[in-house]
Symmetry: C2
Subunit: 409 residues, 2 copies
């Protein structure tokens, strides 16, 4: 008999029927003899509806009041799921974030969990109850209701699993696991049986939406074994753990990609030691999130710096650069839109130095020009023309033999 | 500069527009130089929608989980109203019941307030903030979320006004005040400028829906001056206080009425000392709510007992009586449906002994037969045929000169 934390996302509890279905998945583990703590998100589109109602009242609602508003979403789900479990003959008790002992920083909209007092949950588990906890939310030490930001319910589940020393944390979602790449775009995409925390972290940061990076980081830090699996289909999902023993021979584990990337080049900057820090400190201070950065010196006196931003941030980026033109002392700005980022991720790269070169060769053979590159120990990201994004993923998926691995059941 | 507690019911915050309107009413008092605490209900039909969703999942949802579910309704309203106030340039902060320090019995569905810790609210008022509190809800000392039952938001408002020693508690609703009788049925119905707590308590208990009896009782016990007024129209409402100085000459202050009344007569009971207690203990133990009771002895050995119940409870009443026929030892049950209760209420009755007689005479002159009577110091209730209900109210309204008082502005 162990302790399992299950998390059901918004689409997995999006209707009364789906709540019934989630209840069945909970009961299944209970009947297997496990204690179960369930973490749930708000039902389907509830959050979007609440946000749009707020925006009709106040175009810039305060983060505190947004937290107050949005946390009602999960509170509805916990009560309904508990009712469903009771209707099926199982004792259950629901807790909001603050009731479950989830203490956060006193920050609204994007607080980090600072402590979890599990007394109440453990008491209820001791009585044989299934405990249903509202994800995404907590309270500061002075009793302010807070939220954990995007992907917050994943974080709640993993944090609870860590605090309760759970045997496992199952993330139920609308896909059957983590794929080598997005199966909506690439036919050969294949579900992975396992992946390491580090690989998952890279994939999550590179736009694979299945898990939030903060939750993966939490799981890695506290050694919580995760499984991403389908709430509707009864098949094994993808196990995320320290160093996956499955498919050890894989050099590349997955391919992530995202569009809406723009390259900004600031030309004719003074070639000084402080140039880089000045430009990116200025951008950061104005809330611009920069991704890949490349510096190329054109002469001893002058240098150019290129960086990529989300296309949605382009106007603001240009505005900030123009505002600080005198400080930054550049000659001109060039921008290139309609770009995409394609990244390969895999722990095996550490011991295989030729992987980046192989990636560039595969792309070159397809006539795809690499405009920017960024690497880490376990990933290589390239920025290419958007219209060649899907083709690039296809050829890389093929070249690194991702679809040829034996099927996972 | 004083402190005003304002309460807006579900219909007064039923849409984004109405929330804006409520915000304007709050701001008006703030601009008059007062500190303001606002108590709100769930938006319009929210509670009904949540209840029906719960019932599709569990036909007998636990009261604890219903409290968890329903308290989200007011939480949505407090955040939206705070956003509206901020959009209009006023500092506001929202609190759920537990955050506002409202401690209740550890009972779900119908808890009573046991204590209010006003520290947080007073701190915020001290900072110049408008404080917006979720009505209807609180928390037990062990952190369980509870609700106060029907009319709970009125109770929250009055209890907060008492705890904060507020100068006034304004109940904003969809009518302009307390009327001499229901203006939807009686053309001559007139808004009262004032009414005493005791009179309001009788009217509330007799079916006048404008205020919940528990809230009136609370206001009476803590001497909180109430005003019932319209959230849409800018006119004075009705003041409810200890002994109203206005219209002192009124013997009858108002007329309440309700339909769906049935008379049940249990015939041929043994004429013993314990008969009355046996029959009503049995009914109470089975959850039957009895209103007026009349005993008439037909002989030294036998007696009959009549009582009124809500027509909706009739089947259950008969079932219980038949189930315990051997214990109760009666001969037969007779029932009469299609009845209504009409009551006159007024503090002036205490010093005017002929009021009940005058009521009976007025009804007799109209050919209306009184089937049951019940009196208190300040009210007389009669049960009559339903089809004569409105006519009875009309002639009583006329006879006691309720429409002839000078108009209240």
């Amino acid at each position: 008999m162990g302790l399992i934390v299950q998390k059901f996302g918004g689409t997995s509890v999006g209707s009364v029927e789906k709540i019934q279905n989630a209840a069945n998945r909970v009961i299944q583990e209970k009947q297997n003899g496990h204690n179960v703590v369930v973490v749930v998100s708000a039902m389907g589109k509830t959050t979007d509806q609440l946000v749009s109602m707020a925006e009709t009242i106040n175009s810039h609602p305060s983060k505190r009041e947004m937290d107050m508003l949005l946390t009602t979403g999960e509170q509805v789900t916990i009560s309904l799921l508990s009712m469903a479990l009771k209707a099926k003959g199982f004792d259950a008790v629901s807790y909001t974030g603050w009731q479950a002992g989830i203490e956060t920083e006193p920050i609204h909209g994007n607080a980090r969990i600072t402590d979890i007092d599990t007394t109440r949950i453990q008491d209820q588990l001791g009585c044989g109850n299934i405990v249903v906890v509202a994800g995404f939310q907590g309270a500061s030490i002075d009793g302010e209701i807070t939220t954990l930001g995007r992907g917050g319910s994943d974080t709640t589940a993993v944090a609870l699993a860590a605090a309760l020393n759970a045997d496992k944390c199952d993330i139920y979602t609308d896909v059957t696991g983590v794929f080598t790449t997005d199966p909506r775009f690439i036919k050969g995409a294949r579900k992975l049986a396992g992946i390491s925390y580090d690989e998952m972290l890279e994939l999550a940061n590179l736009g694979a939406g299945v898990l939030h990076p903060r939750a993966v980081e939490f799981a890695k830090n506290y050694h919580v074994p995760l499984e991403v699996r389908s709430s509707l289909e009864h098949e094994n999902g993808t196990i995320i753990e320290e160093e996956t023993t499955l498919e050890q021979n894989l050099v590349v584990r997955g391919i992530a990609f995202e569009d809406q990337v723009t390259r900004v080049t600031v030309c004719g900057l003074p070639n000084e030691l402080t140039t880089l820090s000045t430009i990116f400190t200025t951008l950061a201070a104005n809330g611009i999130n920069v991704d890949i950065i490349i510096q190329s010196s054109t002469s001893q006196e002058k240098t150019s710096i290129s960086f990529s931003v989300k296309t949605g941030d382009l106007d603001e980026t240009v505005k900030v650069l123009e505002q600080f033109k005198n400080n930054l002392n550049y000659e001109k700005i060039e921008t290139e839109k309609e770009l995409s980022k394609v990244s390969i991720v895999g722990s095996g790269m550490i011991s295989n130095p030729g992987v980046a070169a192989e990636m560039f060769e595969v792309l070159a053979n397809e006539g795809i020009q690499v405009k920017m590159v960024s690497t880490s120990e376990i990933k290589v990201s390239t920025v290419i023309e958007h219209e060649k994004m899907v083709r690039a993923v296809e050829v890389l998926h093929e070249a690194f033999q991702l679809s040829k691995q034996e099927a996972v059941v």
